[in-house]
């Protein structure tokens, strides 16, 4: 029996010294085999596989034969622990089990009976609800067909896109419901509402001059096009930008709606919603990787036992999957050999490698600084030119307006190429190379947005007399929030146009060339690979812009929703027709983890410019809901002053140091307790493992002794 045949393999396995040399009898297999077949653990597995005649045996308990001996009542109670469908039996066996349970139901007390029936009906109701909700899922059929053709790795990218569409739509509903809708109905007096506009006191009247140049009179048609593309002109006066929301309160039938407070709180709400939803979505991935310390995504067991996507229906895709799995396994095995080689490096070699790495990192830093400087200069140039004169013709004007976007896109394209060339010289293991390149690309993309905002702020802010009156350059930027909103709008539109242009003008011609031209060079180049990490970074870049820009342009999430909606179809067509699937297999779990971590980084990075704009930079006095306050944040203390004294004292107490320091200490203590607990658990797990190994050896030793004893008698 091969149950014992394993012992014959022990010598080979134990040969590397990890276990002691323990050779149970291999040749005289007859008697020991009987013993092994009689072991309770072996029999319980056998019974589960025996088929219709095998009897019903839930995991752990000894089965119906023993159960009958014990009497029906405890048996019935034990089997009720799980719903029927969770037993690992065929349908016929489950039917038999169910009949057995029904027959035994009269042995249960009334309370148990009621508990069982109510839990059954409750789970049925939940299941029906889940079923009906699953039909509302967007793109269910498309994602299912992509999964069948390309596997779960690429499917996770499209699920991620769907998640972003829903997130942006929800943010839009939030902003529309609490910000745009009250403004619009109170401005037009619908439902007998009105608005209150308090004139600013204590401010220089110079700061409040703001005349957005909505197009008056006859203008050329292309002015509208230019306005649509750059957010200036007639678009600036619409509800798209911050400047439209210049009311202080909306009044509807004696209910006073504090508009500035609502605007600020809605901003916090959409940021909190994004944060909570992303964390909830990544909870399952994080839970596993936090509890165990091994590298979950690289473990061999994960690759072998969960390696094949059972949902693949296409034969070509299956062939590709076989090849990519083989490639991955071979690469990992090679990487392990490389790691062993690295551990054997001499001191001189180590010195050489480290100095090379430091040098290359300095080059990376130089590249980054070059990108940042060019973005800064481009933004400054663009702002100066657009503020100086509007006599230039349409094309030049558009070019100048879009200059920062173009420079950012160029930097986002060039920098990753440089990084992937440089990393080859740094001699890391392949997996680490990929991670480090990815990290650098993420940083470049997100930092570029930060530099753009910084350069915008340096334009808006100045130290000379121009700004002393209001805190910002009121002559050039009477409504600076709208200017920032326009910049974000331009970035979003340009990003969208680039994605469309790349697919139309680079992928399709390449595909046509490859299919119709049979030159060796063309065939060798082949189709471009569908690079998941590049695509993901692209859309995360867009999402970060949306998060930052929504405060300055409340209708931006709607544009982002439409953008991602169209991008889904564009990417799907591009994947099916013009690109080939990636050579290295993508795993759904590590992809999901990566997407959500980078998205989280984007969100946290979006907090910084928003926080500075809200709390530090003086709000414009000429437009927007925060005209009467120093900064946008100042509306919150102002509102708190209107609360009853008791509540004020509580809130002040929470914000003070006397509360924060003890709170921080308590949190540290709790964290320390959990760390200690986790360490203790790990030690217990190690001890149990050693005990298991010892038990297994004891078992085989005893069997050997018994067979020897049997032979002697």
């Amino acid at each position: 029996m091969s149950g014992f045949g394993v012992a014959g393999e022990l010598p080979a396995w134990g040969a590397d010294g990890r276990s002691e040399m323990f050779f149970p009898e291999e040749a005289h297999a007859a008697a020991p085999a009987d013993f092994l077949q009689e072991l309770p653990s072996y029999r319980s597995v056998l019974r589960r596989r025996a088929g219709p005649g095998g009897g019903h045996d839930p995991q752990g308990s000894l089965g119906a034969r023993a159960g009958e001996a014990r009497g029906p009542q405890p048996e019935g109670a034990e089997l009720d622990a799980r719903p029927l469908r969770e037993h690992a039996l065929s349908i016929a066996e489950k039917r038999r089990l169910r009949d057995y349970q029904q027959a035994n139901i009269k042995y249960l007390s009334g309370w148990n009976q009621w508990k069982r029936t109510s839990s059954k009906s409750w789970s049925k109701v939940l299941k029906d609800i889940k079923e009906s909700l699953s039909y509302l899922q967007l793109w269910r059929h498309d994602i299912h067909s992509i999964e069948g053709k390309f596997g779960t790795g690429i499917q996770s990218y499209f699920s991620f896109l769907r998640f972003l569409v829903l997130l942006n739509f929800l943010i839009f509903i939030l902003m529309f419901g609490f910000v745009t809708f009250p403004t619009v109905i109170s401005k037009y007096g619908i439902f007998n509402s009105s608005f209150a506009k308090i004139s600013p006191k204590n401010t220089d009247s110079l700061c409040t001059v703001y005349t957005p140049s909505g197009n008056k009179g006859l203008v050329y048609f292309y002015t509208y096009l230019k306005d649509l593309l750059t957010g200036t002109g007639f678009l600036e006066t619409t509800s798209l930008f911050y400047g439209y929301y210049a009311i202080d309160a909306a009044v509807l039938r004696n209910v006073r709606y504090n508009f500035p407070l609502a605007y600020l709180l809605t901003t916090f709400a959409y940021l909190a919603l994004s944060l909570v939803w992303i964390i909830k979505r990544s909870a399952s991935g994080f839970k596993r990787s936090l509890v165990h310390d091994e590298d979950q995504f690289q473990s061999y067991c994960n690759k072998v036992f969960a390696g094949w996507d059972f949902c693949i229906t296409d034969l070509n895709a299956a062939r590709l999957k076989h090849r990519s799995l083989q490639y991955e396994l071979q690469t990992d095995l090679e990487e392990e050999r490389i790691k062993r080689k690295i551990a054997d490096r001499t001191m001189k070699e180590k010195l050489r490698i480290y100095s090379l790495r430091i040098f290359l990192n300095i080059i990376v830093l130089a590249v980054l600084l070059g990108c940042f400087y060019s973005i800064y200069k481009a933004t400054a140039f663009s702002q100066e030119k657009s503020n100086n004169g509007s006599n230039t013709d349409f094309q030049t004007n558009l070019l100048v307006q879009y200059l920062p976007s173009m420079v950012i896109t160029l930097a986002n394209f060039v920098a990753p190429q440089i990084f992937s060339i440089l990393i080859r010289f740094e001699d890391y293991s392949p997996a680490f190379e990929i991670k480090l390149t990815l990290l650098r690309c993420v940083f470049v993309r997100l930092a570029n947005i930060g530099v753009l905002l910084f350069s915008l702020w340096s334009q808006i802010h100045c130290d000379d007399d121009n700004c002393k009156a209001c805190g910002y350059n009121y002559k050039l930027y009477p409504c600076w929030e709208s200017a920032v909103g326009q910049e974000m709008y331009k970035l979003l539109i340009f990003d969208f146009m680039i994605i469309l242009a790349v697919t139309l003008f680079m992928d399709f011609p390449r595909m046509l060339l490859v299919t119709h031209c049979s030159w060796k060079l063309v065939q060798w180049c082949g189709l471009q690979e569908f690079g998941i990490s590049d695509n993901v970074l692209e859309i995360i870049y867009g999402q970060t812009i949306c998060w930052i820009g929504t405060f300055f342009s409340p209708l931006l999430p709607a544009i982002a929703t439409i953008k991602y909606f169209i991008i889904f179809y564009v990417k799907k067509i591009s994947l099916i027709h013009t690109r080939k699937p990636p050579g290295r297999p993508i795993r759904a779990s590590s992809s999901n983890f990566f997407f959500l971590v980078v998205l989280l980084i984007g969100l946290v990075l979006a907090f910084i410019p928003l926080g500075i704009s809200i709390a530090h930079i003086p709000s414009s006095k000429a437009c927007g809901p925060f005209r009467n306050f120093n900064t946008s944040w100042a509306v919150v203390p102002h509102t708190i002053l209107g609360f009853p004294t008791g509540l004020q004292m509580v809130l002040n107490g929470i914000a003070s140091e006397a509360f924060a320091v003890p709170f921080f200490m308590v949190v540290c203590l709790i964290m320390f307790y959990f760390i200690a607990l986790a360490g203790a658990h790990k030690r217990v797990v190690e001890q149990l493992r050693e005990q298991l190994v010892m038990e297994s050896r004891d078992k085989l030793f005893l069997i050997r002794k018994i067979t020897e004893a049997q032979k002697c008698t």
Binding site: I91, R95, G285, N302, W308, I312, Q326, S589, R689
Partner: protein, 190 residues
């Protein structure tokens, strides 16, 4: 779908909903696909018919699967041992591979599918056959002997807790519960 629904009694539908993880729509779709595998004259009482293995393997969900033979073997309750499947076997299979099946059930059946010699444990030979299935046996020489040895060594090191050289069911379920990709890859949806 209406035609298939009328041939599957409501009682039977409710019973299948209770005994499997499938929803009503999924069971009806499975019935439709199953009856399409039968010749026309047998479609009336599809519930009691058995479909030969060769017909089952023409399903798109199974034809590209390297574990197709093992799946048919594990889920078939045929007494003749010809791996033919009845409608209930088919439902069993879809239930285990569905979205709502518990990870426990999935890992139990995965163990049985990977156990090529059906001795209750995953020995080195089972693991070798498993890796060959994954890399596409027979197309070209997949992994060299040394690489296979190294790979199996690593797998056993990660999963064999009691160090007896094989992976039994509990060890398998333990290692798979820590594998983040298992639930999403061990899935077939019609």
């Amino acid at each position: 779908m209406g035609g298939a629904g009328s041939l599957l009694h409501r009682e039977a539908l409710r019973e299948y909903q209770e005994l499997t993880f499938l929803s009503k729509q999924e069971i009806l779709l499975a019935y439709k696909r199953f009856s399409e595998l039968l010749p026309k004259e047998q479609r009336d009482n599809a519930c009691s018919r058995r479909v030969p293995k060769s017909r089952i393997l023409t399903l798109p969900e199974l034809r590209a699967n390297p574990f197709q033979h093992r799946i048919c073997r594990v889920f078939s309750t045929s007494e003749e041992g010809d791996d033919s499947m009845s409608f209930e076997d088919f439902l069993d299979m879809l239930s285990v591979f569905s979205d709502s099946a518990t990870p426990d059930i999935k890992s139990h059946y995965a163990f049985r599918i990977f156990d090529f010699d059906e001795d209750g444990t995953l020995s080195r030979k089972d693991l070798e056959k498993l890796v060959n299935c994954l890399t596409g046996q027979g197309e070209e020489v997949s992994l060299s002997n040394a690489e296979m040895e190294q790979l199996i060594q690593n797998i056993l090191e990660e999963s064999d807790i009691d160090k007896d050289g094989t992976i039994n069911l509990s060890e398998f379920q333990h290692v798979v519960s820590r594998s983040p990709d298992f639930v999403s890859s061990f899935k077939i949806v019609l």
